[in-house]
Subunit: 131 residues, 10 copies
């Protein structure tokens, strides 16, 4: 289950300048929802039907008062590892969690997922307007 409480921030060292931070996390993995139902999967369920999904999460944002601490972001993304979740929901969920914590001036989250059934998916969600 995603754990947004793991996310930490630190004070933006240059709050007066609207600069941009890009973070690329190529080792994201979650589970495909079993029977179309999004839920936590035990290892047994995993082997019965919920296949692992793999992808890259790309986050771009313009910080306001807070910057996202990288190690906490890594732990937060690991918390999807045994979670059954659709691509569309995962990307919107990550955006919501990061916005709630870091309150950026602008943010974009891209989930670039590996081919499944011969189809590659990329989901892109944005918060605010890019200056």
């Amino acid at each position: 289950m995603p754990r947004p409480e793991l996310l930490e921030t630190f004070a933006n060292p240059h709050p007066g300048r609207p600069y941009e931070i890009y973070l690329e996390c190529p080792e994201f993995t979650s589970l495909c929802p079993v029977g179309g139902i999004e839920t936590d999967a035990t290892e047994l369920e995993l082997l019965k039907g919920g296949a692992p999904d793999f992808g890259t999460i790309r986050i771009t944002y313009i910080p306001d008062a807070q910057c996202i601490e990288l190690k906490s972001l890594k732990l937060y993304l690991w918390s999807f590892r045994n979670d059954g979740i659709f691509y569309e929901r995962a990307v919107n969920r990550i955006l919501d969690d990061l916005v709630a914590r870091a309150a950026p001036r602008w943010m974009e989250v891209v989930g670039d997922f590996n081919v499944r059934g011969g189809i590659k998916s990329i989901v892109t969600a944005r918060h605010g307007t890019r200056p």
Copy 2:
């Protein structure tokens, strides 16, 4: 023969946010129309003249109330496998069928087809205006 009735959708989990979904299907195949006439080809006709075409279909859209279900999209695209159809018609047909089912806020369909007779073709059609 393309079977739009195979397409299924599911409720958009974040209908309030205009986010973007990109789907890439690199294993599209159909048949070149025999004698310039678009028709279903039996295997015999295939060997007599209608050569297979191969390409990648790229779909980008902003969902409104519905998202396209990936497995049904795969089955829908398979239904072109033994169909004799021109590139231009195939791309516009896919766009029409997807728009009819999913009613997106905006959609683009790109057909990127392999070289035939030394010429590569890419056909791009759009529905609505990108916000």
Copy 3:
């Protein structure tokens, strides 16, 4: 000598929608004009001075009532094979011939030619305004 009379078209299957067609022809070859004079070259003249040129022709257009038939386009481009012609003239000539036949809403022709004398050339000409 370029033979625009070889070009054929077919009725646009979706005339109501301004979609885009891209055609890439990577096997274009013509001759460098002998002594700076553009002319047809016999094989003998070829060996005396007019060196072969090679390049890729890229055509992008938005069809109106007519689409360009691919096989006829291939034959038309082959008709430059033994023709001595400057890059600038070839690209503008192809654009003029295609516009005269297919009357597109908008068209761009790019000639991307191989290195000659250590210099690579790309010539781009457009007809109409891209919507």
Copy 4:
């Protein structure tokens, strides 16, 4: 169903020299056997379970008296299009059929198949000893 009777050969123009011919066919497609049983699939069965497989066939051989005619090779490979067959059997079958027709001094057939279920497969079979 594979049709080896479509394969044709022509007389090797340099039978005295053991030269090598490599043929790469990037547009091979067949069907995954339905229910693990290798069989011809009707279009209906295709939609029920037998998913399309895609791959590249690479053939290298040293001709003896006969060379493989390219157009007939293309038609022969097309004849797998609606056939349900395992990768291992397809590659060994192609090798057997080509050896039966062209009796090369040496031949290698490689089937390089697209990812299925997150696993990519390459099968390589050889006839005779490379000189």
Copy 5:
């Protein structure tokens, strides 16, 4: 915990010919052993210290009587997902399990793991002698 009992095989369709099969599994993931001790990690332990490892497993083999069934291989590799194990042990373990099940004439297993602490690791183990 790795589950070799998930591995299945099928009868080699061409047992008389020593042909080669290559399988590439780019979505392998396991856990780094917590505190240097190889053990199963609960999700809590995962967050406390055992970081996920990612890599590609490449298997090449010459089958004897049995071929490895792909879907069962996928399930077997998934069973490392929540297992704390060193790279060196994982690769040798996979080789041992596959050899025990399929008894190939020759087999090579390569584990190509992502950068950790600025160092990329590739471990290669072989069974038997390549003919």
Copy 6:
């Protein structure tokens, strides 16, 4: 410790034309702050905890009266070698130092840092408005 006093400039040879200069420095290295505190690290501290960071610095600017001298830029960037500093601060610091010395019409500094803990970071800061 960064030494902006090492930076030198020379008179812009074409001050009347607003042309653009791009400088790419692929061998930037600094230290990760020890214990989250930005400070100079002795070699001993380095081995105890402050890990080296590596990245590429990309600078684009439109000079006004002065251009940045390349050798002095190299020395200035070397002065971060044993400095413990966060990515966000390093990029903003370089921008501030270069603007103070060269007073460009416009400047952008990009720090493209290698993967750490499975996450790649790119930080982009700008001074002025691009004409």
Copy 7:
């Protein structure tokens, strides 16, 4: 028609040392034989059926007393421009002509031809034994 009389050589500047020369000619073009008959094609015939072929010729050799003069090699290869010839014959012909002129210690000629009918062909012929 290929003109081997155009080939010229110059005295090997280091005849005592068996060094290697590799020549890559990426702009080879000839015609596909019309109706399967190898013949010279007039421009008219070209448009009726004999399609242009394109490829790269790669020559590697160890010179003995003579080296191949590059400009004459270029003219010789141009002489295939309007010639209808099979791939297998072209490569063996080039090898025969070069060996007859330059009498190398060893030579290999590779013809790497563009895709035709979805199949790419590479033909390799050798003279002598590589030391």
Copy 8:
């Protein structure tokens, strides 16, 4: 010393259409100014200190009445070969010389220079406004 008098032009074959010409010259070489002073270097001076610089010159322009003749452009760029000159001055000088000769509607000159002292430089100058 750069010799703009070598530059020649020819009459634009399509003066009525504002098409674009791109020229890429990947073999530009000049000398680094000795002791920071821009001057012609004898071979002796070259060996004492003025190191060779290498780069690619990219020219894009929209011709008005005249097009730049390629062979003369090649000779003009060769005339920088033994000239000691700064990157910034070289690019602006080439732009000035080309504009003086060919009077284009718009022109851009890019000098993309190889790494020196671990830093890569790209200088871009423009004349006029792109339509």
Copy 9:
């Protein structure tokens, strides 16, 4: 100064099988010897003359009783960071230190260093004979 005492090993989990381990460390940095004398450089000396060198160290080995522990290898390679040392000596030194600690059956160390003065260097040293 290189600190081989930082290197640690762990017991080979499969000592009976001669498998291979490849380690790639793309973030190696040391200093160029000041005045041609190999010595430790203070930061001041660094700025006066000893320029930083960058490269990738590639280690391949077949373990005997001991495997190299990755974190300790990272610390060991960091200990060259402020050391003035020639490429040839660095590679041989790393090989000597690793052999002394881990006593492998066979080992190869490659130092692949970035361009300096327009020349790229790769140094390769081996211990023992590859089985």
Copy 10:
């Protein structure tokens, strides 16, 4: 004129181990011999006919008592800058000069020259037998 007297060596730091050194010099330039005669060219002659040649020199060797000093190698290669010389002679000359100075156990020199007249050339010469 090539100046072998510029080449310097230093004592091999590990003379007991037959390790390998690879040097890649991507910025080699010389002149094409004017009128087929190899000679020094004045700048005027350069502009009249002797065109510049560009290429990469790759040197691999196993040192005996001496290693080649990199800065002196750079100066030596610069001394070909205004020299009219054939590819075959240049590569053999460099090999002869380096062997005379450094007396390696084994050496290979490769000259990889840019396309001229549509033909790319690579010349490879070796001294001694690779152990």
